[in-house]
Each structure stands twice: as C-alpha cells, then as structure tokens.
Amino acid sequence: MAQLQITDLHVEFGGLRAVDGLDFEVEKGEILCLLGPNGAGKSTTLDLICGKTQPTGGSIRFEGMEISQMQEFRRARLGIGRKFQVPSVYKELTVSENLSVARSRRPGILHALTRFALSDGRAVAPILERVGLESKADDLAGNLSHGETQWLEIAMLIAQDSRLILMDEPTAGMTIQETARTADIFRALSDSHTLIVVEHDMSFVRTVADRIVVMNRGAMLAEGTIAEIESNDDVKTAYLGH
C-alpha cells in the first residue's frame, strides 16, 4: 500500500477551484516532484496534506489512516513535516534553540516542563555539522544570511525526522553549489524518508526526482519519470499555451 494516497481531492476558495479532483499516490522512500504552471495548485496540495487548508471534498490517507479532517499538530505527530516557501525559522531564537524546537519526538507538555531548553543539544549537533552551521549554534537565527537560513530550515526538517516531508521550493535563492549540496542531502534523506517537492528548477528536479506529477488547474495532468514527462504533449501544451 502506498504511504500517501490522495483520492478525488477538492478545495474551493470563494468559487475558485484551486484543487479539483486530484488523485495520486506516493510510495515510501520516494522523492516525488510536483510540477505545474503558476496557479496549478501545487502549494495548495501541500497545504491540504499538512493541514494548513481544509479540503472541501475527497480523501487523504497517510499510512492507511484518513487524515483530511485532522488538526495540523496531530498530522505532524503522525510524521508529516512541512517546509514553507517563505523561510520560516524562529528569528528571535538561536540556531540550536530552533533545532530543539524542531526536534519534537515528544511534544507533550509534561515532558517539555521537565527538560532544559537545550537538552537536545547533543542530539542535534551532528545535524548542525551536516549543514555546516556548527559554528553558528549560539547565533540568533535572525542574524543568519539568506543561504544559512535555508540550511537551518533543512536542518530543522532533519531534526523533526518526519517520515513524509513536504518541501515548497527548497532551492529558491540558492547558488548552484548550494543547490547541488541540497540535492545530495535529499538523496541521503530518501533512504528513510519520503519527500514531496514543489520545485521550478528543472536541473534540480532531474537530479533528485524518482517520479514527477504534473498538475494543471487543480488536477493531475501527467505522471511519470522525467523522460516521460519531457516528451508528453499535454504538458507542453499546458506550459506553452494553445
């Protein structure tokens, strides 16, 4: 059984059907890239999976469990993590504090009350090293450069250790070298995690994607490997117009 099954998903915003009868499945350990022209409903689909938006119809099943009406923190506890398009680190907290918040294996209040704020320090140190932020551990996240902020976000996703990670344009604003390094990290992550990535950078998609789903007007237009997608006539029409 697929890890994530999306069936006949619908959402409407004041008459606009942002997602309109979407169906797809994601297998465990897969990197799935979501492509599509602007307004195709890619980000909305991620919002629906993580609970930021409530669907008006259809079903989302994660590891066999229906989650489409579940509160977002419950979905996160089940193992769904999300990286947003706009970098969203806690600017008033230090880098290591950000990671401690992200490391939320036991999100209960009693557990949190009986631990010091940085009790996760040892556990998150290797993650900091992996993204090259170990020298910035005590810096405020608000003082990081744009690139470092992106790395911190990725480090937070690793610390959260979700089984399914949803990424919205993870390489936006990155240099070619940084993008390549991100691709390496994604490849390493996919051993134990499933990733759904919305991305416009086609060279990045070529490097990481196991499978691609192309969306148009809220529904699936095509699905397959990169070669299949690049030769698909419907996709060319959707991108280039009639």
Binding site: P107, R115, D139, L140, S145, G147, M174
Partner: protein, 370 residues
C-alpha cells in the same frame, strides 16, 4: 547548565541577599517599615506572573487583577470567618443574609483556603484560556477579552453585596493562624514569609523560562502556526502557562490580603490591572526576576511620590510607561543587556537579544556570499 540559566541564578542569589539581609538591615529590622516593603514583594509576585504569560508566551493578560482578587478574597473569607467566631460575618447581618452562604462554608478550613487561593484562579484562568486558545485567538484580542472579563468580574463582586461585602470589601479580619504560629503582619517573621514566597515564585519562574516548555512558548510567541507543524498542541501550551500565571497571581493576592488586612474590589479594578502591566514593562517582561524588580521599584517610587503628588501620581506613572515603551521596549532588563553588550563588545552573545527592530533591520545577505 547553560550560561543564561547560570546568569539568572546568580542574579537571583544577589537579589535574594538584598531582600533577605540588605532591606531589613536598612530598615533596622523594624516590623512596621518592613510591612510596607512586604507589600511591594507581594506585588512583585503578580508582576512576575504576568511576565510568564506576556513576556514568555506573548499573551497579554489584562485580567491579571481578577485572578489576584480571587486569591485575595479567598484568604479574606477565611480570616473573616475566624474573626466572626461562631456567628455570621457582620456585613451579612447588615444585608439580611440569614445563614452562611454555601460558597463560604469550605473556607472555614485553612487547608482548603490555601488550595482554593491557587486553584480557583488557575481554574478560571484555564477556562477562559481554553475558549480563547482553541479558537486561536491571539494578540490584542487576548488583551480585550481578558479586560472584559475583569470588568464583568469586578461588577459581579460589587453587586453581590451579601456574599462579598460589595464596595466595602472584607474588613475586620483575624490574623492568620498557621499551625504553631499566629502571623503578626507587623513582625519581621511575616516579612520573611512574603520574601520566601517571592523567592520560591521567582525560582519556579526561572525554571519554567529555561525549560523546553519555556522554549516552545517562545517559539509559539514568534510563530504559532509554524510550531503547530512541528506537532506541538499550541492551545494546550498556552492554556497551561495561563493557568500557572493565574495561580501565581492568586498566591500574590492571598499575601496581599495578609499585608493590608482587608480585601477590596479595587484589587480587581482596571487601573490596578494596568499598573501590573506597567511594573512588568518597566522591569522587563522577558525575565521573571526583572519583572519582580520592576514592581518593587515602581511601587517604591509611588510610595515616595504619591505623598507629594496625590492626584498627579497616575499621570507620572503614565508618562513613565510611555517613556519605557518608546525608549526601552524591553525594560530595565533589556537596557542592562544592551549595556553589557557595549561593555564587552560582543554583540549577538546568547541571552543578549537585539532590540525588537534590530533583527529585522539587519540586511539579508545574498546567498552568493556563501
């Protein structure tokens, strides 16, 4: 132990020495003088209670005086019953109340009273919190709702004259009888009782601030939505800190009744609630110790100045508040932090946070620099 926790504990020890030895020495261990200072210490507890919810979690509770008043009345009801012996409290007779109201009966017991002074505020605070935070109410709306509750609660207390003593409050109280010790409000022992309570409250506050719970609250303060996506039940976290804050306010209220030897509905007034906000802002809302010191300093100042400017005192307090908000938004605590940064020349050390706009004003370096 992190360095920030270490600094806070050192500051607490210094503060404790000043309160336990310094102040009584200056006052010549005189019980009457110390009684005035005990009043400041009781108010310091309610100020630090607000710092936990406002500074720690970004929840500005303008109804703090209501929970303070509940604690205060709980203690006063117990002491009034003790003072009335087997008879009814005197004001009930004037209001034609035939027998002791059911609400009053359990307050015969000291144990119940002490528990109720903490638990009733916590329960009421928790109830309001559940409704607010489940509905994801945040920011200024929290302030408005809690303020509205405070006004309504004070009206009810004044209105129910037969039970609460109405506008007059509860006066003519007996001294508190603990097992083996009858508390003399004008004794040195009483001062140490209040000082001890304050130390316990500050220690509790410091550990909450430095726990992972405190860290998650800071994260919620900055971005509640993001924190939800890490799996934290944001509404529960907010509700718990609201309850803790309300219980501490109730505790302060109980001590306040002991200091002044009466309970009055003015403890639940809007102006008192706003005064708490000012103490907390002057000291620095991000640190419980700073908030406590803020309460002590402002009240000392009030003690000196209100004799001279009887009517004008509130105006002076207002000006202080405006100046603090404009020029030191993080209070004395923030000022000391910035001063320390300048002296050591180490900007961006942990614990020394840039002033509110500082972080946002820093230019976002381009990714190419890496």
């Amino acid at each position: 132990m992190t360095s920030r926790l270490f600094y806070d504990l050192v500051a607490l020890v210094i503060f404790a020495l000043v309160i336990v030895l310094g102040v009584p020495a200056i006052m010549g261990f005189d019980g009457f003088e110390l009684n005035t200072f005990a009043r400041y210490l009781a108010l310091a507890i309610v100020s630090l209670a607000l710092a936990l919810s406002w500074g720690g979690a970004g929840l500005l509770n303008l109804g703090q005086a209501a929970t303070f008043g509940m604690g205060s009345y709980a203690m006063a009801m117990h002491l009034k019953l003790k003072a009335s012996g087997d008879g009814l409290p005197d004001f009930m007779g004037w209001n034609n109340v035939p027998e002791l109201p059911l609400l009053w009966v359990p307050f015969q017991s000291l144990a119940f009273t002490l528990l109720a002074g903490l638990m009733i505020p916590a329960f009421v605070g928790g109830l309001i919190a559940i409704f607010m935070f489940r509905a994801r109410i945040a920011g200024v709306f929290v302030a408005i709702i809690t303020l509205a509750f405070l006004v309504a609660f004070q009206l009810v207390v004044i209105e129910q004259q037969g039970i609460t003593g109405g506008q007059n409050g509860l006066t003519g109280l007996a001294p508190l009888s603990l097992p083996g010790w009858t508390v003399d409000t004008y004794g040195v022992g009483f001062y140490y009782l209040v000082a001890g309570c304050l130390m316990v409250a500050i220690t509790l506050g410091i550990f909450i601030t430095h726990s992972k719970f405190g860290l998650i609250l800071k994260a919620i303060r900055e971005d509640a939505d993001r924190t939800r996506f890490f799996g934290y039940n944001v509404a529960n976290y907010q509700t718990v800190i609201f309850c803790i804050s309300a219980a501490l306010a109730g505790w302060a209220g109980m001590l306040y009744t002991l200091v002044l030897e009466f309970a009055s509905p003015t403890y639940m007034s809007v102006s008192f609630s706003l005064a708490i906000v000012i103490w907390c802002a002057v000291g620095g809302r991000e640190s419980v110790l700073a908030a406590a010191i803020g309460a002590i300093l402002v009240n000392m100042l009030e003690g000196r100045l209100s004799d001279v400017f009887v009517e004008g005192w509130n105006l002076i307090l207002g000006v202080i508040f405006v100046l603090v908000v404009m020029f030191m938004p993080r209070g004395l605590h923030g000022l000391i932090g910035s001063g320390w940064q300048i002296i050591t020349g180490k900007a961006g050390k942990p614990g020394m946070r840039p002033v509110d706009t500082g972080a946002a004003a820093l230019p976002a370096k381009s990714a190419q620099e890496r």
